[in-house]
């Protein structure tokens, strides 16, 4: 039922398709504009926002630079409070653990709290293959799941859908998997949310097992934290008998007190609120209250690979607020699907190559899916220098092709440029040719070159190449005597 990112085309071709979708661009421009405004207003209320960012970054850095000690401490404290800790090297291993737990309890369905990590590992598909239904309970995730669609934003996964599309999905699909949408369903957001409430409540009340992620995991107390708005998280975390939380190893926060800056930074950066409606914390089992069997799966799945990259490891500080998506001019125009991953936008452009490694066309394209304008770094509540990591990863992609027997067209072009720039007479001749071409084009009213032939087309398919100037700088200097004469 759900879509998959596997086999998605690389960013340039996916982006081209997205740019042609005017409905998508309209939905995205509206949504990112609204959320940017809300965020700016509540961030502006905080006098010492910059100090708070520094503290948030320092907390995550302290945990990451001693991650082995922190993980062992987390395991000890979770176990001491009655949770069972599992470790998983990769997606396959994590999925096998969750399927095994579902089978051991003989459940054929689980309710799920919105979790990026379970999407990263394809948990729903693994459960489905084992005959276990996984019900997404976050409204946006429900829209994506029922629509057989893919998430396109970290915080608002159905940001690319408008109310009319959502009404149509609910009316068509809800009845096939549970309580149908009411016959008089309108496209009012309140009415649609009401239909989701009715549809999901029967699932919450009967579910015996829930799966969640965690926003934070406190090493010294074993406290897990889930931040949400709708109450679906609270339903999943407290009503079923068995709770399984899959936690990326980078989610560790050393101490309880150090959660403070992160809980102040996250809602303001993410939804543009002073605080999100609901935050749930729990540490293991509480007798008589909530699930009486609690499992925590600590997952690597590429995180140690990212940690080993001295420049890139700062990406593991990410608290998944999505502020970088909402300020990114590239994301705003292409949407999330073009990035081919559950982590889209600027953070996805660095996180995916760091987690999966460079070397395939899909991840290799991502460090280039940016204008390097730096807005993402300004917005990031934990000060991840995304442009720095993008440039670093670009160099890795280039290095990966140094030994190619057939060099890439860019390499040929830059070798040619190097040759031309290496000698003043050669450059002079090249400039004369180029300004002649520029004059001819502009005479025909052209300001850009359009599609280049041959290998150059790979460049111009994704970018507009401006027509060359009609006069080179050196010609201008000679003609005006360095700007002295008009």
């Amino acid at each position: 039922m759900t879509g998959t990112f596997v086999g998605m085309p690389a960013f340039p071709s996916a982006a081209r398709a997205a740019l042609a979708d005017t409905q998508l661009r309209h939905n995205l421009a509206h949504a990112t504009g609204v959320i940017r405004g809300k965020r700016a207003a509540v961030v502006g209320e905080v006098d010492n926002w910059e100090e708070l960012r520094l503290a948030g970054a320092a907390v995550k850095e302290r945990a990451l630079l001693a991650l082995d000690t922190q993980l062992v401490r987390l395991e000890e404290s979770l176990t001491a409070h009655g949770a069972v800790v599992h470790w998983a090297r990769d997606a396959e291993e994590a999925n096998r653990i969750v399927v095994g737990l579902a089978r051991a309890h003989e459940v054929d369905e689980v309710v799920k709290v919105k979790s990026m990590l379970t999407q990263e590992i394809g948990l729903n598909e693994a459960l489905e293959a084992a005959g276990i239904a996984a019900w997404e309970t976050d409204l946006a995730e429900l829209i994506v799941q029922l629509g057989g669609d893919l998430p396109s934003h970290i915080l608002v996964p159905a940001i690319h859908r408008n109310r009319a599309e959502i009404r149509e999905i609910f009316a068509r699909r809800m009845g096939e998997v549970g309580r149908p949408a009411p016959a008089d369903l309108t496209d009012e957001p309140a009415v649609l949310a009401g239909a989701a409430r009715e549809h999901l409540r029967e699932k919450f009340l009967r579910a015996r097992m829930a799966v969640s992620g965690a926003n934070f995991a406190v090493a010294d107390t074993g406290t897990l934290v889930v931040v949400e708005s709708e109450g679906n998280g609270r339903m999943c975390l407290t009503l079923p008998e068995v709770l399984v939380s899959i936690v990326g190893i980078e989610k560790v926060v050393p101490t309880w007190a150090e959660l403070d800056p992160l809980l102040r930074l996250l809602p303001r950066s993410s939804t543009g609120e002073r605080m999100n409606p609901y935050t749930s914390t729990w540490s293991g089992i509480t007798p008589g209250d909530g699930p009486q069997e609690v499992h925590v799966v600590l997952l690597d799945n590429g995180r140690t690979r990212a940690l080993a990259d001295e420049v890139g490891r700062q990406a593991l500080r990410c608290i998944r607020c999505s502020a970088c998506l909402n300020v990114c001019p590239v994301y705003e125009r292409t949407g999330g699907h073009a990035y081919g991953s559950v982590y889209p936008g600027p953070i996805g452009a660095i996180l995916n190559p760091l987690l999966r490694g460079t070397g395939d066309p899909q991840t290799d394209a991502l460090p280039y899916a940016s204008s390097l304008c730096g807005a993402c770094f300004e917005a990031c509540p934990v000060r991840i220098d995304i442009p720095e990591v993008l440039v670093h990863l670009r160099s890795q992609v280039v290095d990966g092709h140094r030994e190619d027997r057939v060099p890439k067209p860019e390499a040929v072009a830059f070798r040619g440029a190097g040759w031309a720039f290496g000698d003043a007479r050669r450059l002079d001749r090249a400039e004369r040719l180029s300004s002649l071409a520029g004059r001819l084009l502009r005479r025909r009213g052209r300001t850009s070159l359009g599609r280049l032939p041959g290998p150059g087309s790979a460049w111009t398919d994704a970018r507009d190449l401006p027509a060359p100037p009609t006069e080179s700088f050196r010609d201008w200097w000679r003609r005006t005597d360095g700007g002295e004469r008009p």
Binding site: H30, E45, V46, A55, A58, V59, R62, D68, L71, E75, V84, H86, W87, R89, G100, L139, V156, R163, P189, A190, G194, A196, R197, F204, L205, V218, T223, S229, E230, G231, N232, R234, L237, T238, L239, I249, A257, E258, L259, D260, L263, T271, R274, M275, P277, Y278, T279, S280, T281, W282, S283, T286, G288, D289, G290, L298, T304, L307, A308, E310
Partner: protein
């Protein structure tokens, strides 16, 4: 299934910790062990009266209802906060002056989720109120009850003592026990998933009414 029964888990644990150590070889040396202290929150040093006024304003900003009363008026304020004929569940440790405002309260004796679904409202106390963010924090002690009772019914009435209100998030962290389950509540259940239009009331209580009891 625990770790001892699961050999794969043990080798995964060793391998992941080994990879972490290998990844951090460049860091070397001793790391600063002192916890990071974040800057103080807003409102530190504010007068108590201003703090409670800010709390009331920020809670109301989330489209929750805020009522302020004196200790003498508390019972009447609780009674007025409940719709006529509502079936109301209460935690075992709810103080008498709050309970007296509830006609025929239903004691929570481990009601099932389905039984709670048939209840209209719940009345509790809380542990801390945060002025800056308009948040109430429940730590599910006996005056607040199990997590489920403040989740399933549609109407939550929460009584906050003015003295429980702190300026900002770090002040709350200092007071709360990380080993107790906690629920931080800022306004009623809400979603902005459809065109970023905020809608109150999805899965949690659709109405939140906060009664602030000012000092006598």
């Amino acid at each position: 299934m625990n770790r001892a029964e699961n050999g794969a888990d043990n080798s995964a644990r060793a391998e992941i910790l080994g990879r972490v150590r290998a990844a951090l070889l460049d860091v070397g040396g001793d790391l600063p062990d002192a916890p990071v202290v974040a800057p103080a929150g807003a409102g530190a040093g504010a007068a108590p009266g201003d703090l409670v006024a800010l709390f009331a304003e920020r809670v109301a900003d989330y489209r929750a209802t805020v009522v302020r009363c004196s200790p003498d008026d508390l019972t009447a304020a609780v009674a007025a906060a409940l719709p006529a004929g509502a079936r109301v569940v209460v935690p075992a440790g709810l103080p008498d002056d709050v309970r007296a405002g509830i006609p025929d309260p239903i004691a929570d004796t481990g009601l099932s989720a389905t039984e709670l679904d048939a209840v209209d409202a719940v009345v509790t106390r809380c542990r801390v109120g945060i002025a800056e963010t308009g948040t109430i924090v429940l730590d599910h002690e006996p005056d607040q009850g199990r997590r489920a009772i403040t989740l399933v019914p549609d109407h939550h009435v929460c009584v906050v003592d003015a003295g429980q209100v702190v300026p900002d998030v770090p002040d709350a962290f200092a007071l709360l026990d990380p080993h107790r389950p906690q629920t931080w509540i800022s306004g009623p259940s809400a979603t902005s998933d459809i065109e970023l239009d905020r809608v109150e009331g999805v899965h949690g209580p659709r109405r939140l009414l906060v009664i602030v009891v000012d000092p006598a």
